[in-house]
């Protein structure tokens, strides 16, 4: 799947709106920075998440970081397959490596996020640091 129609957070999650449901994953940039991911801790369907709050944990050999929800809502689906096949994060970050789907009553919260171009510029500034 392509990077079109994606919105990005400054914490490197992506979000794609489809009706009322928002799919969430990790950006290719984040996955490259983390190195080999060894573990994902994901929420359960039915868990409430709120924008900017942690919904899970991604762990690589050299780092562990929280993943932050791009929007308020309730987790409707969790992709446990990716937790079992972590290489998907590298091979198909914006497609089959989605992590959770969130049902949200206020999709407009995504408007404040970055689009693909802006996110690319943002990543360029991150590399220098």
């Amino acid at each position: 799947m392509s990077e079109e129609n994606l919105k990005f957070t400054e914490t490197h999650e992506w979000a794609r709106l489809d009706g009322k449901v928002v799919s969430v994953g990790l950006s290719a940039f984040a996955i490259e920075q983390l190195g080999d991911v060894v573990y994902l801790e994901l929420p359960k369907p039915g868990d409430e998440v709120s924008k900017g709050a942690s919904f899970g944990l991604v762990e690589s050999v050299k780092a562990a970081s929280d993943m932050y929800a791009p929007i308020d809502g309730v987790v409707s689906e969790v992709n446990y397959e990716v937790a079992d096949n972590l290489d998907l994060l590298k091979t198909d970050p914006y497609g089959s490596a989605w992590l959770i789907k969130i049902e949200s009553s206020d999709p407009s919260q995504l408007d404040t996020l970055m689009d693909t171009d802006k996110y690319e510029q943002f990543c360029a500034t991150q590399v220098d640091q």
Binding site: Y39, E59, S60, V61, A63, A64, D66
Partner: protein
Amino acid sequence: MPYISNTDEQRAAMLAEIGMTPDDLFADVPKEFLCGKLDLPEARSEQQVRDHLAELAGKNHIHLTCFLGGGFYDHFIPSAVYALTSRSEFYTAYTPYQPEVSQGTLQAIYEYQSMICRLTEMDVSNASLYDGGTALYEAMMMALSATGRNKIIIDDSVNPIYRVMIQSYTRNLKIELIETQNEDGLANREAIGKQLDDKTAAIIVQNPNFFGCIDDFTDLSEMAHKKGALVISSVYPISLGILKTPGAMGVDIATGEGQSLGMPMSFGGPYLGFIATRKPLVRKMPGRIVGQTMDAQGRCGFVLTLQAREQHIRRDKATSNICSNEALCALTALVYMSLLGKEGLREVAQLCADKASYAYQKLTSIPGVTPHFRAKWVFNEMVLDLPCDAADVIGRLIEKGFAAGFPLSRYYKGMENSILVAVTEKRTKQQIGMLAEALEAVL
């Protein structure tokens, strides 16, 4: 200077080579911060310091026949234990950050983790913690984090030394710590059941408990799991030579003090805390963990793993602030268990129980000495009631050459006349007989 190799000439040469003077070395420190001569004793030679310490060691009365336990025991230590753990390739190394030059430490830790799992019948163990008390505290923190709840129930048959430690550590945390009172020497099911609710993160118990009584927590595990709570059990590793394991009881986190596995009592440390749990909780387990892997040529080797949970990467979000383990003590326990082996550990545990049972018969046949709890199975430690103040009696027995036991009044109200007596495989029939005679004489 035996521990500084360079001579004055070499120092002068080095300074000259880098174009510095001795004063330059500390020129970055503002002058007012440099202190003058410290008020310290004159430096001693090796001979002087050995003489001085031999004199101090002589002031410690180690000749007392030891029936003192309370979680810390006088077990026999095979000679090969010290011979191997005092190899300086082990003890002068540091945390194995560079696995290629640390396979000795790493494989030993992996074997230690395996040994702890086999002993407790749990799935996973870490590389060790400071001691049994901090291990229990870490287990409690693990349960709080794994369940997202904030209530802990701890029975007062758990070692009081550990309970007071947990009280200190939790003083600034927003948790509800409930202590239940034991029911005739065993964890109080009724009181625990009343407290157990859907806010409860864990029930903390101990086997054999502080009174030496043996319990089976299978029912408690079922009870706790129904409410989504965990069971944490502190265990005495030697007892697992024969006793039912925390794994078999359905316990979620097993911890304990490993001192009895080959470490001298050494006036309170260094000791060994162990912690083992079930696979789903492995990422919540604090401390170092060693895992098996391979190099590019397919050779098997060992590395520190799951390090991303730890403080040097996670900093303020780490699972714990611990950055060391007690590697040398873990090695000691590993060598000890390797020497004893399957049959040896069983025999030592059985010997402890047999000798304790003999001591029980001898001591309770003294007029006025009675068991404190109704008929209970004990492992190697027992609570006896005396006709008078136990602390006083213990004091008088010291004069006769016995560390006869521990006075329970120190930690339990209403137990002024109760003494906790421990018997290890080292105690002989004769020593037990002499204790009985001495006790009868002072009563």
